[in-house]
Symmetry: C2
């Protein structure tokens, strides 16, 4: 079946040129009898650092060469070419697939052998990351999607894949944040929000959406449903940079909540090469803070004893270069000194609408946040 | 803070009457000096059976009495009253909360003691189930929500909580299926779909949505994102009964996929008392079938070896009374005989759009499904 050629965006044209350059270079090397090789920046801890000026975690310049005539590398070299070919096909046909689906697209038995190109997705995922770093194109640009997660409502009208969507008319369900939130598919049509509030937990988002928090406070209300997926992070970055909206984050008062905030803010060590396109360095930590316990006279019912793992994680956090500021040190130490963590849901011990009508509005009014 | 009384729907009025009757009965018993007690249908395996006529898993009539003056039951009795009181408050104020949030609403230290009403959510969750069974009101009617999961797009216009939402204009993101899909909040405004297709996996849904499957095939396209949440099940049942739409289900070819289908169809043993409101007995199993391997000339790349657990699970399935039909026995035995399972994603080994343009349309045309 001949696939239709899809109309390409500028972004697609750029990515395609990168893939084609890779292919041409390999071909040229092979033609002149040289050992085909690809230079890829190392994705190891030793090549990751915190850029104190940009305030993001970055990948350094150390590279490694992947050679075809090298028994340790030949298989990976072949796999890199197969995945690159698959991505070219996706761009040509204007389609996107999941990284699992790319595994199936790429898996086959090599002619005249019993050898499979890929045995398992654990082989293809790192190859995708190699390709991203190798040709400097994010997986979104390679037409690969991660599982999407997260919902959004509020005072924003978007156009996605041709549909105009008013996020103020989404009922209780909300709009599912797409996996790929790049500007050639998702456009901001009309913004009338003053800020973005991102809550970690879906149940808290549901509660706030039911109370029409976003309407009363003129904002965009998102939930990441746990650790933010790539789509949610990219959307947040675009809201912060293109629409210049302040972004507030509301997570549980525990080391995991703080980690979710931290990844939003400066990226993660594992995916350091993507920070530039994902991180939102000026994202504001609105809560839940260790000091809220006294400030809001929380009852004992809100306390959950810290585990040994929580304590170890909190100490680790204190050592992060991006939490060196005295106020962050106080915040983290505050939880350690409390001896307990608190969930956002525990604000329900005060009243059903306490969070929407008192806690968050007061914090915003008092500019009671960390950055 | 005095809470506003919310306008109540007929459904709310009925639920409130049930809670008030419970309270009045307990009060009357106490007033006349009797031991206050509540009769609750037993939620044990021995009180669960498959109703071959209705084709759903049902809870039987065996009851147990919960008494106040009984050291083994006093705590649970108190807890049941506290949760009932919390639900009354929610209905009065027109709010909903998660079961975790209800735990926090109900947790406090008893006056003049060190005893907490609840120590842990594992104490409050069964009390909620007791209350549901005890007064015959689903948790949705008690204004409690489970975490929501699932997305929907397609040829249907709904009104949810006052917003009119055209599910044919949801871009790539889709509308998030609400936790509570009852008719007083979610109305069907205009349907032009011929059927519903529910796919287990989000990535498959994303692929089909990108190919505009629902537009070309005039349907509603849902994903349950794994095992269907309560909201998705209830929505599916309403689409099947109120709009009389045939529902097709597409899951992986493995025992877990079959289990997802099975729960949609006749409910689960754990939540047998809810089958009437959740199960869709005539839901159709479209695939992925063990026989698809030969029928669609799948490559070896699609095979994933069955584990010992898979085999044990498949044998269990064969013994279920609702899979006794010869065609079901053949289907399950087919997977065992294959010796491997297959994921929907493996259809990508054929081509990117094979699933949307050949596999599903052919199955629908040939009426190639099990029921």
């Amino acid at each position: 079946m001949a696939a239709k050629k899809a109309k390409k965006s500028d972004r697609d044209a750029v990515t395609l040129a990168k893939i084609e350059r890779l292919a041409r270079e390999v071909l040229a090397q092979a033609t002149r009898g040289a050992n085909p090789a690809v230079e890829i920046r190392q994705r190891s801890l030793s090549n990751v650092s915190f850029n104190t000026k940009k305030k993001i975690i970055e990948l350094g310049d150390k590279t490694q060469s992947r050679e075809f005539f090298n028994t340790a590398m030949a298989r990976k070299f072949m796999q890199t070419m197969i995945v690159a070919q698959g991505c070219k096909k996706l761009i040509d046909e204007g389609k996107t697939v999941s990284i699992r689906q790319m595994f199936y697209m790429s898996k086959h038995t090599l002619d005249r052998s019993n050898e499979n190109t890929f045995e398992d997705q654990s082989e293809s995922d790192p190859i995708i990351e190699d390709l991203e770093v190798g040709i400097d194109a994010l997986r979104e640009e390679l037409h690969l999607f991660a599982n999407k997660r997260g919902l959004v409502v509020g005072k924003l009208v978007v156009n996605d894949a041709g549909d105009t969507i008013d996020l103020a008319r989404m009922g209780r369900g909300g709009w599912g944040i797409p996996s790929i939130c790049e500007s050639d598919q998702l456009e901001f049509v009309k913004n009338s929000a003053d800020f973005v509030l991102l809550v970690e937990k879906q149940a808290v988002w549901l509660r706030l959406n039911e109370d029409r928090f976003w309407e009363k406070n003129n904002c965009i209300l998102m939930t990441s449903e746990g650790q933010a997926a790539r789509g949610a992070r990219r959307l947040l970055q675009r809201l912060a940079t293109e629409l210049k909206l302040p972004v507030y984050v509301l997570v549980d008062n525990d080391p995991w909540g703080l980690y979710i905030y931290s990844v939003l803010k400066q990226g993660s060590i594992n995916l350091a090469y993507e920070s530039m396109r994902m991180a939102v360095p000026n994202v504001r930590f609105l809560g839940m803070s260790a000091s809220d316990y006294k400030k809001y006279k929380m009852p004992h019912a809100a306390e959950i004893k810290l585990t040994k793992e929580d304590l170890a994680r909190a100490e680790q956090m204190k050592a992060y270069p991006w939490f060196k500021d005295a106020r962050w040190q106080r915040e983290i130490q505050g939880t350690i000194d409390n001896g307990f963590k608190m969930e956002l849901d525990s604000l329900l011990t005060k009243s059903i609408t306490f969070m929407a009508e008192e806690y968050i509005p007061k914090k915003l009014r008092d500019r009671d946040y960390l950055q």
